[in-house]
Amino acid sequence: MLEVWVRRRSTDLVLYILSFVVPFTVYALTLNGYYASDHPNSMLDLQYSLLVNHTPILPSWMASNSVDVSLYHGVYSSAIAPGASILSAPFGAVGILLDKQFTLFGWQRLFDELFVALCASLSSLLVFRVARMFWGAKASFFASLTFSFGTLVWPYATVLFQHDVATLFVLLGAYFSLRGKPRSAGFTLGVAMLVDYTATLFFIPYVWLAQKKWGLRGVVNLSLGCVLSGWTGLAYNFWVFKNPLIFPEEYWVGAHGSLFSRFTPSLAPEHFALLLFSPYRGLALFSPILVVGAVSLYHMSRSPKLYEAAVFFASLFTVNLVFYSFWGDWGGG
């Protein structure tokens, strides 16, 4: 009996470890490094500026190398949320030490990409862990492999970009929510919001689950956790703009008009369909395996035991999709 238990536990542990080691090895070997595109330049600019100049303000010579830059009263800053640049700073610092001077395609970028790969691999492990709460190890491992290699997580794990870093914290929050720890869930969601502003949307499903499971107390704990980490985003805004309620995206140099004017509600249904089914950005064409996930969600919702989890997962997916449908530049989101 004990022997069977030990064998099961050890095989479970092997798959658990594999769900981290396999993606991390593949991601580390497919990092872009020198061959990377210039899209994430402003994140490198911000990190270098924070570590070396101790300010989030970018010198104009540095800001000119990037497309995602904000200009407010003559002051340049990164238009991207600062979380990924801040969290990957220990990795970037090693790169800067090796580079000895500011360079866009040096060790700093490679080490930051390694950090993103690490985040994506930890997310893969969490997918296994969350799936294992409901199903067997082999099926959970398949879900983890699908997430790691069958979705956009893989290409984005090879470049410096905020998506995979935010995914880790959103997923960690979902894990804590399902495990009955609303304050920890709120705290990790706050970190995700610092990395990617759109992560704020996930607060809605988190609140729904907290309310469903623990009532008002759960919602208060979730909100408290969120404030404990989320204030850093407002502090960053104050540091840059002297106003916590001004966000960098509002003053993006490429923008025409206010932030709200960049939403196109009348085109939302069209964008919704394009984001799901168009060749350009359609999720069903880039990761058709996720259609199986949607079918499975439907089956889960019919089981009283899995209903809550099904609604939680479905709403976590839908809030993001609906939000990007309202965004005018649907293809850039």
Binding site: L29, N32, G136, P155, A199
Partner: protein
Amino acid sequence: MVDSTPFLAIPIAGLVEGCRQNWVKPPVFALYAYSVFVQAIGSFTDVFSGYGGWRFYQPFDYNLGLLLRGRLSVWWIDIGVGEPLYVKYVFVLCTIVIVYTLGALALWGFGFPAFRWLNRPR
């Protein structure tokens, strides 16, 4: 959209495990294989692309061409140690084969009885 994908990936485990019909797994694996291929060519070449209209399909209209021309965006390629060109293709092929093999193992376990108990929930 990337941070939403885990919440469609996790439930896949439910369908894979709950479905008793034998015919379900081959189409699931086919969808898995195609998804992995699309993401792989994006990872080996370039995740970003220019706008080409809503009918522009980045994997085939952009990334596959780069891959066939041997233009890989992988940090250790061409670092000056003089590795031959075929190393790139061997690397791409091996990576995809390993990911396919692991997926097939997770789906079927190649019928090894030792894997059967893994289907039971905790």
